[in-house]
Symmetry: C2
């Protein structure tokens, strides 16, 4: 994702499902960039509790409690609610209204062909028992994006088909009313390396895989995670030559150590032998402790006054509703559903 292509007239829509606190993978993949981008253009950050429910009906407490947890994570990494509009999805009913009309603009066959949906259905083992709300969530996502006339949606490469689906809906709606009311969005995919592997070496850092370092991790958790970190299983003695590829410590150093020259030296040393895992792990741990200490401190400070955080979310939600209401009025007006 290159900031250059994003200008002050852009509008960003992004967010997170509220199914668990955020971790270092989120920081690298999106949060860090959001902190930068909030100074560039308008940014709406969605706490997607309603979307979380599409496959969490019954897990109400989890979805609710993580609204506050994710908000704390946002504030902890430096997202500024005066710059970014942070809001709760379920409290913006305009989104479900838009979504209900968009459902008429997309066929069931088209939804079933959506590669992202196909993958996620497989991942969740839904087979034929897909909740309808899960199959149709591209229409809900189109509502999230278009309600704010977002021009930029930062997504993983696997999510690109979702943005294409949104833009199809945009074009169909505009054609049906012969006016350009909705705005197409551009998927912006993070640069290579923005996806952090789990500390066990698995491709994805994920709370459910138990290989994630939450942003709220205390010093001991960070130590523990680095100690557990996957390196080179054949690097048995310090003097042995070690492998750098797939070695999570070096993957992390590539991401977190700002001194690229030093990382290159460490890699070379490790490859020729004589550099122990303990040394590189201690080095990485120092960097991670330094990175996360202020995040944790800010998070703890905000967590002391959850009411203030909820008040901030209330204000953000009001701003989001205002923006979404404008779009909804235009959409319904164009369809003639403005009777009074």
């Amino acid at each position: 994702m290159t900031t250059q292509t994003i200008t002050s007239s852009d509008i960003i829509l992004t967010g997170d499902r509220t199914t668990g606190p955020l971790h270092l993978g989120h920081y690298v993949g999106s949060l860090k960039r959001r902190v930068e981008l909030q100074h560039v253009c308008r940014q709406f950050l969605l706490l997607a509790d309603a979307q979380a429910l599409t496959d969490n009906m019954g897990n109400y407490l989890k979805v609710r409690e993580n609204v506050l947890q994710v908000a704390l994570d946002y504030l902890a990494v430096g997202i500024d609610p005066e710059k970014s509009v942070i809001f709760i999805q379920s409290l913006v009913p305009e989104l479900t209204e838009l979504s209900s009309y968009y459902l008429n603009l997309v066929t069931v066959a088209r939804l079933e062909r959506n590669p992202t949906i196909k993958d996620e259905i497989k991942l969740r083992g839904f087979e034929r028992d897909i909740p309808a709300g899960f199959l149709t969530y591209p229409a809900a996502q189109a509502a999230d994006i278009t309600a704010f006339k977002a021009t930029i949606v930062p997504v993983g490469a696997d999510q690109i088909p979702m943005i294409e689906q949104t833009n199809e809906i945009v074009r169909r709606f505009n054609a049906s009313v012969s006016r350009d009311i909705l705005v197409e969005a551009r998927a912006v995919v993070p640069e290579q390396g923005a996806r952090l592997p789990g500390f066990d070496g698995k491709a994805k850092m994920s709370k459910s895989l138990g290989n994630a370092l939450p942003l709220s991790a205390c010093a001991d958790e960070i130590s523990h995670a680095v100690r557990m970190m996957y390196t080179d299983p054949n690097h048995l003695r310090v003097s042995d030559p070690g492998q750098v590829e797939g070695n999570v410590v070096f993957t992390y150093l590539d991401v977190f150590d700002e001194d690229a020259e030093r990382v290159a030296e460490l890699k070379a040393h490790y490859q020729r032998g004589g550099l122990g895992d303990t040394v590189i792990k201690r080095h990485l741990e120092g960097i991670l402790q330094e990175l996360l200490a202020p995040v944790r401190a800010r998070r703890e400070a905000f967590a002391k006054d959850p009411q203030a955080v909820m008040d901030m979310l209330k204000r953000g939600t009001e701003k989001a509703r205002e923006a979404a209401a404008v779009t909804l009025a235009e959409v319904k007006g164009a369809m003639g559903l403005n009777y009074f």
Copy 2:
């Protein structure tokens, strides 16, 4: 449908898609009974513009204009907006919110197995290009019904699976929150004979088949319709014996002539021969003219002041929103989506 089983504590939800003015078939099948039932219990009448859009995206003018036309039909037959809450579906956003959660409680496979949906998909020739909003409309209908805690939904026999689907959603939701918040509804099917054939003898009276007599029909249209009416194609001479079964004039007399004895005599006479089509048609026409003249007069009177009708719809819509908002608050509260 027997009024005896409906008591003052019941709540009725019913309504019409706003795709065209209503006709004599609607009068016999539902409107007449609504006029009676509004004195028995609370009744919500839905002008289903949003549902009409599920297969009418782009036909916005048609859907919009028929909101007023259907409202005029309601008033013309004697539905009293002080007794029945008449409201516009698209102006009650609480319905789309409820619907969005209900979508998570029903699987795609279950929707595809719904016999009503299957038939209607076939009828519309959708095949695999079913708009998602059309497949998922049972969830929207469940929202319409449950928002008002309706206990009674008058439907045709073909719509019974829709009410079963609603009740499944009700049970699933209540189980998921371990509380009885939503209320199951009972499908009430009109008695035999409540479905009026078209005047061409086809099973269903329908505007699109061109065999319908609109409630706003003028005297000439009524004459013409009766003249065109299908009788017994083998009844060539007055003296010939004629057939009563499938003879639309007699089907209509069974429904509209309150003097059952006289109808029995006419049938006997027609069957043994000596009774001409002209005579029975003149008799039926007299009855229909008498039935529809005051309906037409009332319709014309109300149509003179469309603003007053729209004001009435506005008040009805406000009442509907109030009722739906109570249910929505309970539903979202039970799911924990009440943050502030």
